[in-house]
């Protein structure tokens, strides 16, 4: 057998293949029953095995790892390195499927989507199948996602499923079997696209030479079809509704939003007025025409569905009922997500579309029928028992894995409430090669399933030529689950040269996100992202400059006193502690967390490197906390990373209204910081001493500019000249004031609203003579410094006032809603 294998691949000494040891009880994707490489794998294999040193494999694995980290692909996104944020696992070796085989899958999936669509129309309409006895009433009525308020509600174009996904597996007999239907808000298509993006960089030649069908166009089609479902606007606003950054697939929501060019919104960003859905934006309410929901059915409208949902949109169902908004997939489609349906679908297909079902499903018994229950109880040992409803808190049980006592308990459980359980035959999943990621990168066999996606278009359902293969975590495992640490693969569908979708569809030139569609909540987070980034940077520099002067007792005392007075460290703390002590409410770690939170809220607006930098920042803080290294080094690095963030914000983001508010946030924060820093400095006893002034200039990042301009040793008067009234120095108060004024003006012009009044307090003015007075060691000098400090404090307060005014004006409708009952 080995000989044939070697003969066919022409790689006698290839170790990858020689060590490939498939489980003979499974269907093997790579090798046929005689151990020969299947023809559709030959092309890829020849390319990969030509290199005998495993360099290709090593490089592929390495590049994949790097790209996953760089792109921040994660199964959960919240940027807390200690949290649930787990990097995505991708095996760069693709799963190859021949064109001919794919045609069968494609046809079967399209047919299934049509059947399910017809079934939904019946369940939410006349319920004929129930009356005819073809469907047990227990299936819909016992399912928490059968939504009575949606009964009688026909979605626009009678289309319930905009996206449908089928989980398929290949049985030992070589046929594809259906494991599960995803009808509610199928996840994973974004990961599939991201996988392709990575594999394209890992194996660029192979993907080109083998004529692998492209997947990116599919997402263009998806966007077009989303834009066309709503027919009462030439330029409809389509949004993606997410449960938020704590959802396990939030990365994908943000990724899809970016790929499709659609705003990513949360429930509180939307409001229903007079049966119409609006997005709360900076410029006011914008009508929303279509909502792509990634939120579960029953969470979508707290007025008519689960009232404890803070994630939904109050009144959404009445807007759907009035035909003023399209929600895809339609609310209530989750009712089909149950294995209980599988056994009834052949009959349903015959009845509704008069066709035999093409893709068989895994043999499934719904225990609600007496004969089925009897069979299941008699055969528990070779079946998998699953819940019929998703809210049951019952994990699948493999009958063969449990002892007699547990079997008896299971039997009792099933007999008491049989209709709530489903039994399935255990399928030995087929296996495909993966690159072993430790040691020599040989091939290893792993069980897998595939998720195939279909979207509704004007011309009927279309299937993504590819998809997401999910791979078991080890050789013995048969359960494939992303939550349980399995991996994923790209799927390569080979084309016979006539790949229709390879020609990019005619693109209409259009702006995807209209400039006024930025949700207020997002803008609020951008504003605070700007503020926190600057706050951290300022504090890090203040601490760094202070730590740096430890040797000079007087300056050190001066610096520490000001650090404490500004609330950067606690009254009895030392500067070094701030960078280390995580629970310290004054600590920098706290502010970094705030940055991460704001950034995760606006992730869809951030560039990949910005996000990476945020994740990096968190890591830096953790490392600084853990290590005993010189705090100055850590603070220096932090300040540098924060400066990088500012650079990315300026260079990578669209300079729209959201960005303007981010910049206003930054400027306001710095204005307030410099104003209170100067006020503290001026009122300190040693304000005029050279060492203290030098420290001040260092905190303000202004030593070199000072030197190049004044040619004198640091003096208070010149320092104030530079830090207060120099309009061109990006630290000076005058600079910030001007910049804020300009941004407010631009914001008003862009939103066509009246201009918000800028910082009320003027920037202190002084003549050169007055500057000299301020340096004086006499009573007059002291009084002048006190007077200036008062003005600076007033400036600080009026900065806070502007911040409040902006919040009131632009973010006031972003509060939480609550439920009331009688």
């Amino acid at each position: 057998m080995i000989d044939k294998r070697v003969l066919l691949t022409g790689a006698r000494s290839d170790a990858s293949l020689a060590t490939y040891d498939p489980d003979t009880r499974r269907y093997d994707e790579l090798l046929d029953g005689d151990g020969c490489v299947r023809p559709h794998w030959l092309g890829l294999l020849q390319r990969l095995t030509a290199d005998k040193t495993h360099d290709t494999a090593r490089r592929a694995l390495e590049v994949t790892r790097r790209l996953i980290v760089e792109n921040g692909v994660a199964y959960n996104v919240y940027a807390d390195p200690q949290g649930a944020d787990r990097p995505w696992a991708l095996d760069p070796l693709p799963l190859v499927i021949s064109q001919e085989e794919w045609r069968g899958i494609e046809k079967g999936v399209i047919q299934r989507a049509r059947v399910l669509e017809a079934l939904l129309a019946d369940l939410y309409g006349p319920q004929r199948l129930l009356a005819e006895g073809l469907v047990p009433p227990e299936l819909p009525f016992g399912h928490p996602n059968f939504l009575w308020p949606c009964h009688g509600l026909v979605p626009q174009g009678a289309s319930w499923l905009h996206v449908y996904a089928a989980d398929l597996a290949r049985a030992p007999d070589g046929r594809w079997w259906l494991l599960a239907d995803r009808t509610q808000a199928p996840s994973g298509a974004g990961y599939a696209l991201e996988n392709r993006d990575i594999v394209e960089q890992v194996l660029p030649e192979a993907i080109r030479d083998l004529g692998v069908r492209r997947v990116r166009e599919f997402f263009g089609e998806m966007r077009e079809s989303l834009r066309s479902v709503c027919d009462d606007s030439a330029n409809p606003l389509v949004v993606i509704l997410t449960p938020g950054p704590f959802n396990e697939t939030y990365f994908e929501h943000a990724y899809m939003a970016r790929q499709l060019g659609l705003p990513l919104v949360e429930g509180q960003d939307l409001t229903v007025r007079n049966e119409t859905v609006y997005l709360k934006t900076l410029g006011g309410l914008q009508r929303v025409h279509t909502i792509v929901r990634r939120l579960d059915d029953d969470f979508c409208d707290p007025v008519e569905l689960r009232s404890d949902s803070a994630l939904g949109v109050p009144g959404l169902i009445s807007a759907i009922r009035a035909g003023k908004v399209v929600v895809t997939n339609a609310l209530g489609t989750g009712v089909l997500e149950s294995a209980a349906w599988l056994g009834f679908l052949p009959g349903i297909a015959e009845r509704l579309i008069d066709e035999p079902l093409q893709i068989p499903s895994v043999a499934t018994w719904w225990c609600g029928e007496k004969p089925a229950l009897d069979y299941v109880l008699a055969n528990l040992g070779r079946l998998v028992i699953k819940p019929a409803y998703p809210n049951q808190h019952f994990e699948p049980v493999f009958g063969r894995d449990i002892d007699a006592e547990a079997q008896a308990a299971l039997t009792r459980r099933l007999s008491k409430r049989p209709y709530a359980y489903v039994a399935q035959e255990h399928v030995a999943l087929s296996q495909a090669p993966v690159w072993r990621s430790t040691g020599t990168p040989n091939f290893a066999a792993r069980a897998f399933t595939i998720r195939v996606y279909a979207i509704a278009t004007a011309a009927g359902f279309r299937v993504l030529p590819g998809g997401l293969a999910r791979v078991a975590s080890d050789a013995a495992t048969d359960v494939v689950s992303t939550q349980r640490g399995g991996g994923s693969k790209d799927i390569w569908v080979l084309s016979d040269g006539a790949d229709k979708s390879a020609a990019p569809p005619a693109r209409r030139l259009q702006v995807a996100i209209r400039p006024d569609d930025v949700p207020s909540r997002m803008v609020e987070n951008l504003f605070w992202l700007g503020r926190y980034t600057v706050r951290c940077a300022d504090n890090a520099r203040l601490l760094r400059s202070t730590v740096r002067v430890r040797v000079d007792k007087d300056v050190w005392r001066h610096g520490v006193r000001i650090c404490r007075a500004l609330g950067v460290i606690a009254k009895n703390a030392q500067p070094a502690a701030s960078a280390r002590n995580d629970p310290d409410p004054f600590g920098i770690a706290r502010d970094i967390k705030r940055i991460a939170w704001c950034a995760s809220q606006v992730r869809s607006r951030l560039s990949a490197r910005y996000w990476r930098a945020v994740v990096g920042l968190q890591r830096q803080v953790q490392e600084a906390t853990a290590s005993r290294e010189e705090p100055r080094e850590a603070l220096e690095r932090l300040a540098l990373s924060l400066a990088a963030l500012s650079g990315y914000a300026a260079e990578d983001m669209t300079h729209d209204d959201g960005w303007r508010l981010l910049r206003i946030g930054r400027r306001l924060e710095r204005l307030q910081f410099i104003a209170s820093l100067l006020a503290q400095h001026l009122t300190a006893p040693a304000a005029t001493r050279q060492g203290q002034v030098e420290w001040l200039l260092d905190v303000c990042h202004s030593i070199s500019i000072y030197r190049s301009r004044y040619f004198v040793a640091p003096r208070l008067g010149s320092a104030l000249d530079l830090l207060v009234r120099d309009e061109h120095h990006p630290v000076a108060l005058a600079f910030h004031c001007n910049s804020i004024g300009r941004d407010l003006g631009e914001l008003a012009a862009s939103l066509r609203i009246t201009r918000e009044k800028s910082v009320a307090e003027p920037i202190p003015e002084f003549t050169d003579g007055e500057l000299l007075t301020l340096e004086g060691e006499d009573q007059e000098g002291y009084a002048a410094r006190q007077a200036l400090a008062v003005k600076l404090r007033a400036l600080h307060i009026s900065g806070a006032d502007l911040s409040d005014r902006l919040s009131m004006r632009h973010f006031s409708h972003t509060g939480d809603t609550r439920s009331v009952w009688t």
């Binding site: 319920q127 129930l130 009356a131 005819e132 006895g133 047990p136 009433p137 227990e138 009525f141 016992g142 928490p144 009575w148 308020p149 009964h151 009688g152 409001t271 229903v272 007025r273 007079n274 049966e275 707290p302 007025v303 008519e304 689960r306 009232s307 404890d308 109050p314 009144g315 009445s318 609600g368 029928e369 007496k370 409803y389 809210n391 008491k416 409430r417 209709y419 409708h813 509060g815 939480d816 809603t817 609550r818 439920s819 009331v820 009952w821 009688t822």
Partner: protein
Amino acid sequence: MRYRIHHETAYDYASEVLHAHHILHLVPRPAPFQQCLEHTISVKPETFWRRDEIDAFGNVVTRIEFEQPHRRLEVVTQMEVEAHPRPKVFAAHTLPWERLCAELAYHGACPTRENLEACRFRHESPYVRVKQEFTDYAAECFPAGRPILECAQALMEKLHRELKYAPGETTVRTPVREVLKNRRGVCQDFSHLMIACLRSRGLAARYISGYLRAGPVRSAASSVSAAIGAGASHAWVAVYSPPYGWLEFDPTNNVFVGTGHVAVAWGRDFGDVSPLHGVILGGADHELKVSVDVESLTPS
């Protein structure tokens, strides 16, 4: 019996409500044993939007929206309703409960229209869990072969006997399992627990929201006591009991429902039919006042 009913609900909010959606179940639905002759709902402040519809269970719902900031919401309904006496039923004529269960369960054949309709009310719903502990609790009421009406009556009596009517101790969010544990609650809790006990056995039960005439009531055990729950909106249970269809039980008062009750709406549980439910933006804390007055227009 003819009644004039006055139902007032007022919310006083601690701070301004900026925007609100409410859904009202306040109009008595049509039913074979009652007729709503006259009805008005007045709402203050003025609604921005209002729509009257029939929901999936056949109830009359009113949806309203407020767009102007307000600190007080007041809903007053007035109605005149005629309640007709119900036909006499015989417990022995109703199906044994196990046979009813078997009939309601799917067995591959066309269900009757009535049975299919009853199936909507056989399963877990947002406020009523289906659990073994409910089956066990009510076991004594369901001996083998006992007609469903007798079972339901026994269950009602048991609940009335073992649960303490304790206003203010539970809220709309109190889970039924907790009611079973603490054995205390109001009409909503009595009803939810009764429904849970029936559904956990595979029987069909509805939650009915409505009004109860004040004054003496005659219990199922023929004793007379003052009606509990007359000053507010009331709730009770309907049990699917072929051949009679749905028969109603008031576990809070231990009475068979007759001309002393006026049904407003029914559904799977409280969540489907609550008199007034809303989602508000702003408002902070609120104070709620509800008063119901059922005046009999038929001289007794």
